[in-house]
């Protein structure tokens, strides 16, 4: 059985350097997968391949909702269905918060301005930013900006959400508000693949945790399997380094 997101033998080379060395991963619809691992292990590269922000080797295969991820026509469909949240927010600074959320539905889905605005306001209420809808991103705190970025991605009604260390650029007191939004999102049944250093979040929310190192998946299992009963030495070392920090 293949998953909603199905990754087979994923390889990514930078010249001679292999950032990903044959990743196999199936993610079921509605599943929440957290990806953890040391810096440089290929976590970002992995999720960036899923919406083709990173091109990968020809021999590899990624399928999202039965559509293969390859550069070209079908990519628009994939990207409309896969939302992404970046470590550095990447909001559009020249647009108001509401306009940030409205842009893609209007331009990609052809939504009318009225519909896009109504939908944007609903989403902004959901992430608790509605009061700031007319402000520009630079006037918001980091945590607020990241919540807008989540709303912006959700506006396309994605079936899969990718998160690349969404709280790593935030001051500690703002991490919680973003994680809360993500937890609520997980409860709505959206498929989520989350690269994170927040082990508490992974333990509480993930259906499955994946540990990566050196461009490979070293170990994967339920949060309990990984956090309490890791079999691989590398996983144990990584976790003891992070958790006793």
């Amino acid at each position: 059985m293949t998953g909603f997101v199905s990754i087979k033998n994923l390889e990514k080379h930078y010249g001679d350097f292999k950032a990903l060395k044959g990743i196999d991963l199936d993610v079921a619809e509605g599943e929440v997968v957290c990806v953890v691992g040391p810096s440089g292990s290929g976590k970002s590269t992995l999720i960036r391949c899923i919406n083709c922000l990173e091109k990968f080797e020809r021999s590899s295969e990624i399928i999202v909702d039965e559509t293969p991820v390859i550069p070209g026509k079908s990519l628009a469909k994939i990207r409309a269905e896969v939302g992404m949240v970046f470590q550095s927010f990447n909001l559009f600074p020249h647009l108001s918060v509401r306009r940030n959320v409205m842009l893609a539905p209007m331009r990609v889905r052809g939504a009318s301005k009225v519909d896009a605005e109504a939908h944007a306001d609903t989403l902004l209420k959901r992430v608790g930013i509605f009061e700031q809808a007319d402000k520009y991103p630079k006037h918001l705190s980091g945590g607020q900006q990241q919540r807008v970025a989540i709303a912006r991605a959700l506006a396309m009604e994605p079936r899969v959400m990718l998160f690349d260390e969404p709280t790593s650029a935030l001051d500690p007191e703002m991490v919680g508000e973003v994680l809360d939004v993500m937890k609520n999102l997980a409860d709505t049944g959206v498929t989520m693949i989350v690269v994170t250093h927040e082990m508490g979040f992974a333990r509480q929310v993930a259906d499955r945790v994946i540990f990566m190192d050196g461009g490979e998946i070293i170990e994967s299992g339920t949060p309990d399997d990984i956090f309490s009963n890791a079999k691989e030495v590398r996983t144990q070392n990584f976790l003891s380094a992070v958790l006793n920090h």
Binding site: F86, L103, R152
Partner: protein, 223 residues
């Protein structure tokens, strides 16, 4: 006293005034047409230079480098005096317009390229991740941000174009400078030349000041 009689002879200036105004009008027309055409061609060139297949990119680079190295006066004289040998006969106005546009486009292309490259990669990635087409990414996200960055250097370039229109007097264009030299010959007094110089300054000074203001404001960094 004699100096004022020579350089600021009011009688001569008043007589030359209508000629100078006619010349100013032609200078403005030539400058405006060249600036607008240079902007459009330059924007297209910058997009080719950044995003076209690499062989076409290379051609754009060659174009940009050639027209930035070629002295405008040389280009103008080639267009006006050499093109007729291959059957292309352009009026002084269109010769000057062509030369000014070709050169301005090369500079404008570099300005736009720098402006686009100053936009953080994350803006491109966020647009792509949302599924925006290339066209919408550029029109809705990248160019509106780049425009802010490129307005001061583009204004500078426009000032240069207006100044360079004076070269057109070499190919008998009745622009401001040409009118002034003719008025000088007629009255055997250099006051019209001084008058023309003052008109150039009065006309361009506000633009120069505006660039300084913009640079100071953007430089102050409202991030």
């Amino acid at each position: 006293m004699e100096l004022i009689e020579t350089f600021f002879n009011s009688e001569v200036l008043i007589r030359a005034f209508p000629m100078l105004m006619k010349g100013l009008w032609i200078t403005i027309k030539l400058g405006t047409v060249s600036i607008v055409a240079g902007l459009i061609l330059g924007l297209l060139l910058s997009l080719v230079r950044l995003y076209a297949p690499s062989s076409v990119q290379f051609l754009a680079r060659v174009y940009i480098d050639i027209f930035r190295s070629l002295p405008l006066l040389v280009l103008l004289i080639i267009v006006y005096y050499a093109f007729p040998f291959i059957g292309i006969r352009l009026s002084p106005f269109w010769s000057a317009m062509l030369a000014l546009t070709l050169v301005s486009a090369a500079y404008t292309a570099e300005i736009f390229r720098a402006g686009i490259q100053a936009i953080p990669n994350g803006q491109f990635e966020a647009s792509q991740a949302l599924g925006l087409s290339y066209r919408h990414m550029m029109l809705d996200v990248i160019l509106p941000q780049a425009v802010k960055i490129v307005i001061p250097p583009l204004t500078n370039n426009s000032i240069n174009v207006v100044k360079d229109t004076a070269l057109a007097s070499v190919v008998a264009m009745p622009d401001l400078l040409k009118q002034a030299t003719q008025a000088q010959a007629l009255s055997a007094n250099p006051s019209p030349l001084i008058g023309a110089a003052i008109i150039y300054i009065l006309f361009l000074w506000p633009l120069v000041a505006a660039v300084s203001r913009m640079e100071r404001r953007f430089g102050a960094g409202e991030s």
